[in-house]
């Protein structure tokens, strides 16, 4: 098991000591986290790192998950999509069932704690059954473009909390409760981010049938329009006129129509160009993603409005990142210092060529990016701010 002391050699000096001191201030308080599942990105990824660490430090921290029937999952999934701005039909009957399932879950759960943190959409209505203690809603997605009907329903639920926490100030909504901001973070000791040597990288890339004989451009992200993989292909084609490079698009494909269409277009592009590699990977392919990011020359994250941590993961591996303006990426990538923020396919192509033409910049930006992540996007900083919030809410 990873322990807090293990982070001393990767976190900025002094941070672990501050965490230990903050822990002393909240010792004895009981904290309960509730989320919709134990696996995946966002809440589950963050909690699977933070909860064992906090317990190891002697804090009484529980993590429970909630569930329901198929209709409950369908409605909470549609509601989450609508809160992220997608068009979804939300029938009153379905929303009532979603609330009712949470009422049933509340009877099964032990909700007594000094601080109860509810993550994302699925368990949010549990707040109606709150007892003593402070309740906060932790939102791991961008709710700023929520559909009106979805938010007018959901906002009433959130107004029953004592506070909300968003990943960025621009991800929030007008609320009657205080909104705190805590950036998400990567775990530098996780399988996706821990150090792996060049020999292992070569072995893993060999297994994926990706050669290392030319410069590698990489984008990691779901095959959907939000990640704009087709825009990345177009940027690659502009670069390919001048440089013999390889493009790897690694990610997962959803089973919705849009994802299937995007994947078909990508496969078509790859069919005509052997230097375009479309890698469909399972969500648990952390070691493969780690190796790909380490093997990459330049990492692209041309997302339109998603993909918060992907740039931080690449920068932690010392890679310059060319990022789109959406999804908090411009918060991570310091333009002209750790990479470039671009607004178009042409901009991405221009910056790739600029870096390939000036390889000393690749090393310099990569090193700057790693230090930037060390300061701002490691789980130690996340723990520090979460404990500070705990102090603030309970003292």
């Amino acid at each position: 098991m990873t322990r807090l002391d293990d982070y001393r050699h990767v976190a900025p000096p002094g941070v672990v000591d501050i965490i230990l001191r903050l822990t002393e201030r909240v010792r004895g308080r009981r904290v309960l986290h509730l989320s919709g599942g134990r696996f995946g990105e966002g809440a589950a990824e963050m909690l699977s790192t933070a909860v064992p660490l906090l317990n190891d430090l002697g804090l009484d921290t529980r993590w429970e998950i909630t569930g329901g029937d198929a209709a409950f999952y369908a409605t909470s999934s549609a509601l989450r999509a609508a809160l992220e701005g997608a068009e979804r039909g939300l029938a009153d009957e379905a929303l009532n069932h979603y609330v009712e399932m949470n009422r049933i879950n509340a009877k099964k759960l032990r909700l007594d704690a000094d601080v109860v943190a509810i993550h994302d959409v699925q368990p949010a209505p549990l707040v109606a059954h709150r007892g003593d203690g402070r309740w906060l809603w932790r939102c791991h997605f961008d709710a700023s473009r929520a559909q009106h009907r979805a938010w007018s329903f959901f906002g009433q639920i959130i107004s029953q909390y004592d506070a909300a926490v968003f990943s960025l100030p621009e991800f929030g909504r007008r609320l009657s409760v205080p909104q705190y901001v805590i950036h998400p973070a990567i775990d530098p000791l996780s399988e996706k981010n821990r150090e792996i040597g060049p020999r292992d990288v070569t072995t893993i890339l060999g297994a994926l049938r990706i050669g290392q004989d030319k410069a590698l451009l990489l984008q990691v992200g779901a095959f959907n329009r939000a990640h704009d993989p087709l825009g990345v292909v177009n940027a690659y084609r502009l670069v390919k006129k001048h440089y013999d490079v390889r493009l790897v698009l690694a990610g997962t494909a959803g089973d919705d129509r849009e994802s299937l269409d995007v994947l078909a277009d990508l496969r078509q592009a790859a069919h005509h160009d052997p230097d375009i590699v479309v890698l469909e990977l399972p969500p648990e392919a952390h070691r493969q993603i780690n190796a790909l990011q380490r093997a990459a020359t330049i990492v692209l994250q041309k997302s339109v409005h998603v993909g918060f941590l992907s740039a931080a993961e690449a920068m932690w591996k010392g890679k310059p990142v060319i990022a789109g303006v959406g999804g908090g990426l411009s918060q991570q990538v310091i333009n002209d210092v750790t990479g470039y923020v671009v607004h178009s396919v042409e901009g991405a192509a221009f910056r790739i060529r600029h870096l390939l033409n000036n390889p000393e910049l690749i090393a310099r930006m990569g090193a700057a990016g790693r230090e930037h992540v060390r300061r701002a996007f490691l789980v130690t900083r996340h723990l520090m701010e979460s404990l500070a919030l705990l102090v603030h809410l309970t003292e």
């Binding site: 903050l22 705190y180 919030l389 603030h392």
Partner: protein, 221 residues
Amino acid sequence: MATTTNPFVFIGCVELRQALDWHALDERELMDRLEDVPADSIFYHTHGYFLRHRPLTTAYGNDFARWAAVEVRDQALAERLAVVDPFESRDLESLRQELVTIVHDHLRELTAVPRAEPPGVFHFQQSHIVTVELGPRATTLAEFHDGLAGVDASAIYFHMVEARARLGRPSGDFAEWMRTSLGLAALAERIERIDTFMTSLERVRARVLRLVDQALEAQDG
């Protein structure tokens, strides 16, 4: 070497950010909001810049200047805002007035109000500082030196910035302790004169340490 019964306690801090329901999409909105936002928000976007930004970050001096440069691409306003030294202002209300005046005067020269594209909205925030005691307490100048050398950089921010700007201790905690507890008025004055604007917390630490080193050498000599 002088020993005090009033030891120096190093305090580290964590900045807990709070988003406010105040936003600006163009420079006129920025000016209007600057007039109305809580003083703590002015503090967060000016003095607080030095806690969040490290040498890697392009230095704009404060969040308003950075927004004007990066999101609005109005370099003239960015330059005018960037030179505002929050440490020279008497208090946060004076600082607020200085910022408002700069934006106001800038807008008078323009025929159209420059604006950011929608993702570049300025979101006003404020912060709550949560403090923790760090390291051993110092009762001599030598102990202070050793403590300062190893303490987390947030302690430099707390004692040199937060103490002066928000906690009503205009000399800063280092200088105040040296003057009142160790009787080192000259050293205190030199530390007070350290320019904390447009630099990093690590550089401020190095400058304080250098002055303390010199004072220790003088004591030994």
